[in-house]
């Protein structure tokens, strides 16, 4: 199988603080992957590095066979690799409609903009109701929907979602996980998420990330039970 995304021993961080310590992950064509692990161990930083917001100090990213390590974020989006940030407020002073329209910014995205907008508003009818409201007036759940909707408007060939269900009520979380499954039928996904059960229901393979490295790779076949997941987060305890 050919690789859609190949992250090769990437190191990077913010100033003197190294967050990623030679991390390597890969994603085959036709699969979805999930990233989980404790907070502050490099999951979001890895996505920032892949999408070009952060220059890695060493290592390489390849998307669809092409090296994208030193590319501008706008060029990476233009190639179809799209990143929806965690807890993203996007553009607070703009309306939902404006943001969705503007998100089809790249040449590739503009061609399918009308269709993509229909798709997003069908997926998240709430956004259609809120279309004239400024983004800063949206609730947490609506912001997540807008963030995902905006990313879908970019016409992604690979979509990276950073904690799409963070801080949501169980009911909203359920709604959103249905939407995620729906999206995953058309767009390959990389999802960063604390909820391993949700990840297992949407993705094929998981990476446990700790201390800026992959600690463990999990397939559907060797899926851990609840106690094991707790161990991964909090360290092994006496059984």
């Amino acid at each position: 199988m050919s690789l859609l995304l190949d992250v090769q021993s990437v190191t990077g961080g913010y100033g003197a603080v190294t967050v990623l310590r030679g991390i390597s992950i890969h994603m085959d064509v036709g699969e979805n992957i999930g990233l989980f692990g404790p907070n502050g161990h490099g999951k979001s930083t890895l996505l920032r590095s892949i999408s070009g917001l952060l220059r890695p100090t060493s290592g390489r990213h390849k998307f669809d066979g092409k090296d994208i390590t030193r590319k501008r974020p706008s060029d990476i989006v233009g190639a179809g690799l799209v990143h929806a940030q965690q807890g993203n407020t996007l553009f607070g002073e703009m309306t939902v409609r404006e943001i969705l329209e503007l998100s089809a910014f790249t040449y590739r995205a503009q061609k399918g903009a009308a269709q993509a907008l229909d798709h997003v508003l069908t997926l998240f009818p709430r956004l259609a109701e809120r279309s004239r409201q400024k983004a800063k007036t949206l609730s947490g759940g609506e912001r997540q929907m807008l963030s995902i909707g905006s990313a879908l408007m970019c016409s992604p060939r690979l979509l990276m979602l950073d904690e799409p269900t963070l801080g949501l009520s169980p009911k909203l979380k359920e709604e959103l996980s249905v939407a995620l499954k729906d999206i995953s039928r058309n767009v390959p996904l990389i999802i960063v998420e604390q909820d391993v059960e949700l990840l297992l229901s949407v993705t094929d393979r998981l990476y446990l990330i700790e201390h800026g490295e992959v600690q463990r790779e999990i397939n559907k076949d060797n899926a851990p039970d609840h106690a094991e997941i707790m161990d991964m987060y909090f360290g092994a305890h006496d059984k």
Binding site: L53, P73, V77, L90, M94, F105, T106
Partner: protein, 288 residues
Amino acid sequence: MSAIIISTLMSGILLGALYALMASGLSLIWTTLGVFNFAHGALMMIGAFVAWTVSEAMGLGIVAGLIAGLGVTAILGIVIEFLLIRPFYSKPNVLLITTMTTLAAMIILEKSAQMIWGARLKQLPRMIEGDVSVLGAVISAQEALIIVLAPLVLIALWQFTSRTTVGRSLRAVGQNQDAAALIGINVPMTFALAFGLGAALAGLSGILLGSIRFITPGLGAEPLVKAMIVVIFGGLGSLGATAGAAFVIGMTEAFLILVVGLYWTPFLLFVFLIAVLVFRPTGLFGKV
């Protein structure tokens, strides 16, 4: 008595129109890049001189002068962004550094203008001749043109930033650079565009100012201060707030000149600004 009131009103509107134009470019750069362009006044002066050179010295007419003035200031704006803003963008104290670099640009532009055009006073020809009578107060047709033109330019700018994709991308970059980059907007190119557009707006105000006042290398110094007052007074935010603040300041200034005279007006204007900022720290129209 009422004739004096009306003519004061007219000069207040004229000042407001000029200030709104001057401040719009400064405000556009501030809201997109988050830096204050201290070379804004100098760019106004360059716009006026270039327009004068093309239209008068070369004799090509005021339309050619206008186009040349706008073009040269836009290019200068892009050059200033590239050389004096961009290298410092990722520095934590970018506001302080760019204050110094744009002040340097102001001095370089002013001294260069002195070398190129000399100290002799110059004036642009009027775009339209004659006088206009408004409710008994007589103003020149050129001044009436400025009063009409300024709101039209501001409305065009507002439509550009709210309706067009490129205009919206300027606002998006101003509100959240990372998120803008992640939907495919080229952030550095947007910065250059905002600076070029802001500089061209400075050029336009300089050319209009040069048709009713004399052009000197120091033409932009006082307007720069006024434009900064307007932008801060308006609340460092939207175009509407800046335009509103421009007319409030223009009107206040006109009536202060009438009541306390030219000498005390700048002083009282600053007292007014400080008083407003004490009670409304986010500016007249700024949101808390």
